[in-house]
């Protein structure tokens, strides 16, 4: 049994942000996450750092929050942001009234929007449709949610926090209005770990109600599915938004070598209903192609969906629910040491974490104050790294490697095959994989994926899977076929709705390769032994 001051349930950006904030204030804490960090809505979001402009007219509270956090974010978490800026565009039949209100609403909420001419917009974004009638420049940016979450986790660990992935909360033991013990299962080996926390923070996002129910409580929230499609190639320099009342198919976000188009809003009943459908894919492509026509002839590589944990439960339309967040102190419902946090956006995670941490700190009597708006998330000494390998490679690797850049570069340069490119879509080096394979958090091949971007390029792991497996087996005695199958299943999740044209052919080819080289179909039928008898 382990005693601690704070137990945080949920390793998405909210949980990670709270962990960092509290750890920096001196709290003793443990964070548990049922799968890998950022595998909930955080890892399935659009990757937008909002300027707030999208909410200026209809959701001014959110807009103000986003506008303020946007500036802070760019100061403290530079390493995971592509500060590309963005443009809001209206098309011919869009509500011109909305466009007029847009600028004044932005001013009122502190969002830095500026109208530009159509010519200027087309110059900045040559792929924009020629049908646009008005354009506004905003400080939107693209953010890597995996890096961000891991950055918070590592920063928390630096301040002595403990963070455990693949640990699932099974039970609360409640004693006289207090959560006395939390029973957690370690999914790596099936063992049970018992924590005795002073405070429990429920930051489990779409699963908040499930966790609350362990204490026989319920939270009023709406689960709202948003789907995105990953389009091959960077079609825009910055973000593109539709200038109208927030609807579906409004947004295009450039992210590394892809463009992510989104999003939809569909009410669902459980956090497991997170598959994007063919209809959603067709719709998103059609709708966003109105802004960037080339989307219609580009290659859709993958579709994915995340579940938004929105506050409140009576609205029929998910879009009408405010994107602000809600703190729930369950002492009002009879459990003294239980806090839940729902709602919010990736952009405002730091603010959410600050508020939660303030509440926790006051309950614990912690004296430290919040410095997360000032202290940068990570700082790495870059000089000696650049000296050792070519700067283009160094930049990329350093960015991804968080606090471990030195060790990663060392592996790349000193290991025999360290500089081999294993993933040619994302240019991931063998040394990087070799480092992360040894990291305590890494259990599956998809964990490696989230940390190095291997398999996230347009082949979605088709070719690099072999190199990936060969790196992994050096460091683990897991059954390689089991690892292979689980990775393939993970990658296949988002492929079904985009199986047409180029993608269909590619999946066919991968089938050829994987069945042909690994005889996967025979493995799955349990027929290897029979093959042996021939």
């Amino acid at each position: 049994m382990q005693r601690t001051e704070v137990l945080i349930i949920g390793g998405g950006i909210t949980g990670a942000g709270i962990a960092r904030d509290l750890a920096c204030r001196g709290a003793e804490l443990v964070l548990v996450e049922a799968s890998d960090f950022s595998n909930g809505a955080t890892g399935r979001c659009h990757g937008m750092l909002h300027s707030g402009a999208r909410y200026a007219v209809n959701d001014p509270i959110s807009a103000t929050e986003c506008a303020a956090e946007n500036t802070i974010f760019k100061r403290i978490a530079n390493f995971c942001i592509e500060d590309t800026g963005g443009i809001f565009v209206s098309l011919k039949n869009d509500d011109l009234d909305y466009a007029d209100r847009f600028l004044s609403s932005c001013k009122k909420t502190g969002v830095a929007a500026k109208e530009i001419t159509v010519e200027e917009a087309l110059k900045k974004e040559p792929m924009l449709s020629k049908e646009i009638v008005r354009a506004f420049e905003v400080p939107d940016a693209s953010v890597d949610p995996f890096l961000l979450t891991l950055g918070n986790i590592e920063s928390a660990r630096e301040a002595n926090a403990i963070a455990l992935n693949y640990h699932s909360v099974r039970e609360f033991e409640i004693n006289e209005g207090v959560i006395d013990k939390v029973i957690v299962e370690n999914l790596r080996n099936g063992s049970v770990e018992i924590f005795k926390p002073e405070i429990v923070v429920n930051a489990s996002g779409a699963w908040a109600n499930k966790i609350a129910s362990l204490a026989n409580l319920s939270i009023e929230m709406t689960l709202d599915k948003g789907s995105m499609v990953v389009i091959n190639g960077r079609l825009t320099n910055g973000l593109i938004n539709r200038l109208r009342k927030p609807s579906s198919g409004d947004i295009i976000v450039p992210s590394y070598s892809s463009s992510i188009i989104g999003t939809t809003s569909i009410r669902v009943d459980s956090p497991n209903e997170n598959k994007a459908t063919e209809e959603e894919v067709d719709f998103l492509i059609r709708e966003t192609a109105m802004m960037i026509p080339d989307i219609a002839i580009s290659r859709a590589v993958r579709a994915y969906a995340g579940i938004r944990p929105l506050c409140g439960s009576d609205r029929s339309c998910g879009r009408e629910i405010s994107r602000t967040f809600q703190l729930i102190d369950h002492s009002e419902q009879g459990i003294e040491n239980f806090i839940s946090v729902i709602g919010g956006k990736l952009t405002t995670y730091r603010l959410m974490a600050e508020r939660v941490s303030d509440l926790v700190a006051s309950k614990l009597g912690l004296s430290g104050s919040c410095k997360t708006a000032i202290d940068p998330l990570l700082s790495v000494n870059r000089e000696d790294i650049h000296a050792r390998i070519a700067s283009s490679i160094a930049n990329r690797v350093v960015r991804k490697s968080l606090l471990f850049a030195n060790d990663v570069i060392q592996r790349c340069t000193e290991e025999l095959r360290g500089m081999e490119v294993v993933c040619s879509c994302e240019e991931v080096l063998r040394g990087e994989l070799s480092y992360w394979c040894n990291h305590q958090d890494v259990k599956e091949l998809s964990d490696l994926m989230r940390r190095t971007r291997v398999g996230m390029g347009y082949c979605q792991g088709g070719l690099c899977i072999f190199g990936l497996l060969s790196t992994m087996i050096d460091h683990s005695d897991r059954d390689p076929m089991e690892l292979l199958v689980r990775f393939i299943i993970e990658r296949e999740r988002g492929v079904e709705p985009v199986l047409f044209r180029g993608q269909l052919k590619e999946e066919f080819f991968k089938e050829h390769l994987i069945n042909g080289v690994y005889h996967l179909d025979a493995y799955l039928r349990g027929e290897y032994e029979k093959d042996l008898e021939r």
């Binding site: 050096d474 999946e507 089938e511 799955l524």
Partner: protein, 428 residues
């Protein structure tokens, strides 16, 4: 202004993959004038070159989605479902193998094969990591009793595509073999840190210095048989492998790796075999339309980049391949043949009973389409009619395409049987 050249031939074969090339070689060997045209890639050249005729449905009845099928049905390409005679199929497989092997031998690639019991075990070079050792060729001898031997796998630093540790692990775990060991060696010209592409490797391997070093590395390893990565090009293959075996006193076999595209070498060997038999091979021409008079197809227009050819033929064979080869095309999952005149049908689905791999079956379901053919391999038009002199072979046929069908084995077998019908058509 597009020029049109006029050509005549006995047989026009459209499709230059395994089915097309093999059909051409067979028909040419019977003295017929054969013209093979093809365009673009082939699934054959992207495959692992592994030819398996029989999935192991030993003694059981399998369940397909809507009905139970007998073992015999599972053993052969779907197009032969009316021939439930296993004996017939096995006899044809043997005859086909007897024709194919020596011709591929002459092209330096396939060197030996084993036929035992009711099974034909054929592949070109090497084996996939997890396939039975028996399904493999080496430069001489029969490797069917490899499980009793000491096997070593040798990786070359710089050839990043082959990891002997991974291969050894898979083979020993999955095949329950205790005596597989892995080694690495460094040969001087190889750029080990950054990895080399298989083709640049093949370029370095034909010189004597390389082979000397490789032989020495092999001699240092105590084993009966040793697996090396696919480092020799087709033209050198037989010579190099035999020489290596002589120098080292070991049985040498080649291990298939993902990027080595062994199907490419198999395809090259088939091309050479077809050319040696006297086929005329015109690659880069796309079949665009057929001229049909009554119940016969008379000629086809083939389009090149700047010049067209009109080919008059006695018999036409369609071997354009499945989805990957471009013979069948899918638009939003609606499958059509590339001419849009033949009838496309769907084979009943076959789903694996305990697959965890959901999308695997999805691809299978898409792969179960193909051109409808009768038992004499004549294709059906969309109108329901059959033309007297148009036959099909290969993955383009209903249910023949990998992974639903038998892949290369199905392509070769359907080609073998189709050519008999083609000869009949020509003799009429």
């Amino acid at each position: 202004m597009r020029k049109i050249l006029n050509v005549e031939t006995d047989i026009l074969i459209i499709g230059h993959g395994a089915a097309g090339l093999f059909s051409g070689a067979v028909l040419s060997s019977f003295g017929k004038q054969v013209m093979i045209v093809g365009e673009g890639a082939t699934s054959t050249s992207l495959s692992t070159g592994n030819i398996i005729f029989q999935r192991d449905f030993d003694g059981n009845v399998e369940k397909r989605k809507d009905r139970e099928i007998t073992i015999s049905e599972a053993l052969m390409p779907y197009v032969f479902r009316e021939h439930l005679d296993t004996e017939f199929i096995n006899a044809e497989i043997r005859a086909m193998t007897a024709f194919l092997l020596p011709r591929l031998n002459n092209c330096g690639l396939v060197l030996n094969g084993s036929i035992n019991r009711n099974q034909v075990l054929l592949t070109n070079t090497g084996f996939p990591y997890s396939c039975t050792f028996a399904q493999m060729f080496a430069s001489k001898g029969d490797l069917t009793n490899l499980s009793e031997k000491d096997i070593a796998l040798l990786g070359l630093l710089g050839y990043k595509d082959f990891d002997p540790d991974l291969a050894a692990l898979l083979i020993s775990k999955i095949m329950n073999m205790k005596n597989v060991s892995a080694y690495w060696t460094q040969i001087s010209e190889f750029r080990r840190r950054y990895g080399m592409h298989p083709t640049e490797v093949a370029h370095l391997t034909h010189n004597d210095g390389f082979q000397e070093q490789l032989a020495n590395a092999i001699k240092d390893i105590d084993c009966d048989a040793i697996g090396i990565p696919p480092i020799f090009s087709l033209l050198d293959y037989q010579l190099r492998m035999t020489e290596l075996e002589k120098r080292t006193g070991r049985e040498i076999f080649e291990v298939v790796t993902p990027l080595s595209l062994p199907g490419l070498r198999f395809h090259e060997a088939l091309r050479l075999a077809a050319r040696k038999e006297g086929c005329r091979l015109s690659e880069g021409l796309k079949a665009s339309s057929l001229r049909i008079i009554g119940r016969r197809a008379e000629s086809a227009i083939l389009k090149g980049k700047f010049m067209d050819t009109e080919v008059k033929f006695g018999c036409l064979m369609i071997c354009t391949g499945g989805l990957l080869g471009g013979g069948l095309i899918a638009n939003g999952n609606k499958i059509a043949d590339s001419f849009d005149i033949f009838q496309v049908e769907k084979m009943p689905n076959f789903t694996y009973s305990n697959t965890k791999y959901g999308v695997h079956s999805l691809i299978q379901m898409i792969a179960n389409y193909g051109l409808k053919a009768d038992s004499s391999m004549h294709l059906y038009l969309k109108t329901g009619e059959r033309l007297e002199n148009v036959l099909g072979a290969g993955s383009v046929l209903e249910g023949c395409s990998f992974p639903a069908g038998l892949g290369l084995g199905g392509a070769l077998l359907t080609a073998w049987i189709s050519t008999k019908n083609a000869l009949e058509v020509l003799d009429q």
